[in-house]
Point group: C2
Chain length 401, copies 2
Amino acid sequence: MTGAEVVARCQVLARMSETPGAITRTFCSKPMREAHHALRGWMEEAGMRVSVDHAGNLRGVYPAREGGEACLLIGSHIDTVPDAGAYDGVLGVVLGIGLVAGLGGRRLSFAIEVVAFSEEEGVRFGVPFIGSRGLVGTLDEELLSRTDAQGLSVARALRDFGTGSELPPHEYIGYFEMHIEQGPVLESLGLPLGVVTAIAGQTRAEVCFRGAANHAGTTPMHLRRDAMAAAARWIALVERTARVTVGAVATVGSVQTLPGAGNVIAGEVRATLDVRHADDDVREALVNRLRCTAEKIAERRGLQVEWKTRLLQAAVACNEGMAEMLERAVGASGHRIHRMVSGAGHDAMILSSIAPTAMLFVRSPGGISHHPNESVLENDVDAALAAGSLFLRELETVYGE
Amino acid sequence: MTGAEVVARCQVLARMSETPGAITRTFCSKPMREAHHALRGWMEEAGMRVSVDHAGNLRGVYPAREGGEACLLIGSHIDTVPDAGAYDGVLGVVLGIGLVAGLGGRRLSFAIEVVAFSEEEGVRFGVPFIGSRGLVGTLDEELLSRTDAQGLSVARALRDFGTGSELPPHEYIGYFEMHIEQGPVLESLGLPLGVVTAIAGQTRAEVCFRGAANHAGTTPMHLRRDAMAAAARWIALVERTARVTVGAVATVGSVQTLPGAGNVIAGEVRATLDVRHADDDVREALVNRLRCTAEKIAERRGLQVEWKTRLLQAAVACNEGMAEMLERAVGASGHRIHRMVSGAGHDAMILSSIAPTAMLFVRSPGGISHHPNESVLENDVDAALAAGSLFLRELETVYGE
């Protein structure tokens, strides 16, 4: 199978959408059923036995050669954000099928299961990873009873969609996910592929500066308690501090000024903070420092600062042995090896609780994702197919008899 | 008349409102008619001849002693912002009547006309100074045909309210306005009164920083074009630059982030800028410097900046001779003289085109204005009455026979 064929299949799936002229495919929607139909055909064509599990995941198993009991799981998700691109998630599923198809019927010492996770983006029910949580066995009652905007529960959505029974948990020798990078790093380095070593942990917070709203004309500079001026100093320092912390990203993406009139000094500013790092200790130290900075700025200016932590998510390391095998595969396929941290969450985070995990990034032109202009280069997909095949060979040297 | 009586009259007028439990009295509204009724009674009681002019201004004339042809105009406005306080504008009108009442029937060498301007805040028609523009003769067709939210024109509002004819323009010896400071300066100095030397000029602009919206997790710090980080640096420098420019105020009161999600780097930030100074050259130089700063910050970061000037308003100087007379009056009333610039616009700006203008500020507790908590201290109003009486005496020494 070629990169061009993989891209063409992603484009076929992109036409299965809830919104005409755009790509939107949420959990248990009609286009998800259409996508299952197409994927099932391709899986069966590649020699897989296909079923849908209790969480709506489409799972195709390509058997091992006789006596092989081990199984490698390869996958990604097929749901999308609203007005999405054609490759986020989907590419990894189609590439997985492509790797199996590339075996041309040849059996390995381990089985390969390709999974198309039903849900990763968190769009319909406001929580992500429903598919992968189902596979690892943590789809609990609380999650099943969660409701969407129409008041339908996850359980009801699954029942209406028509799913299979919960499959007995398998002991996988590994989970392998191929995914577009969704960032500009590989492009900036001129590389098609990156080996992911970890998925960054996250802290999200809401930071509120409270001063005093006053007349912009009649309040001299030295008598102001300007919440926006204080927030501006802090935001500038958030950027500077993150820049000198290797591997960290910190973002203030949303700022609200109250009352928000041009001729009134802002009495209150609400800012969001998003901090990520592969090392939880580094992240926590960075967040603490930013919090101290906010408090110092506020104190010096006679303001109050309120800090609400909204999300704390630990980093997830990929399996080091798997990462080394993936590196050898990338190197053997003729490309320079680049290790990198994923700043975005992936199904691999959930799978890492039950299997050694490996993750391969494919260059994102322009770093664009979650947008109709999301793309991949066919040559880069060829490179992923080549590296993926060599990775299977690496695994055979370990798990072969 | 005492400060307590003046405050009590302001409180009577405060009950004339469009909204129960709050003070809102817009141009040509029913409560404006009620206010006219009350003010007319107080004016007549003080010996004035009262009429309503073509712009809805209530005008009471207290005659000069025989042979006196000159006339001093004293006034302020009686319209309010929504959910206003009881003193902005109103205090100056009631104080004007109080000064005349304080003469106890004694005639001066000049007449005194007290005017309650119908409109200053710009609430109903989105343009301020309708009353004072009417008095100085610049209420033109464009302004008269302007419509409110219900589609009614200024001309129609005046006709429905029922106004008098345009009064022949008078040659006033001066315009004297007493007004709450609406800022914290007098309070910070511990003074009841301030002599206004000028009304600051203003520049208002919308400043848009355009970078690139990207994933907050997957875009390393050095590959970002973060519009909020750029805007934050600029806002911090706006504050710093204004602080070192004597007499200047500069405010970024409203900031909008686009797309405005916590996990997306802001691709665009729209910020307002409000710069004021009594010296137009200083203001223009400061604005140019802030514009250059924005452009430099944007250029260094690969962003674009768009600058739209929304308002350019020249400073208006009060009459120096009148200011000196007012200073002597304040000094003679036993208070320390403090000269100051008004950062807010006032009817005096419009009147300065036809008469030498003098303006007296009364301390605003907490600097609070345009808010239900707006207040004045009765002792400060007593001080204003005393200084105002002495100011009339100063004028008599000049305009007496």
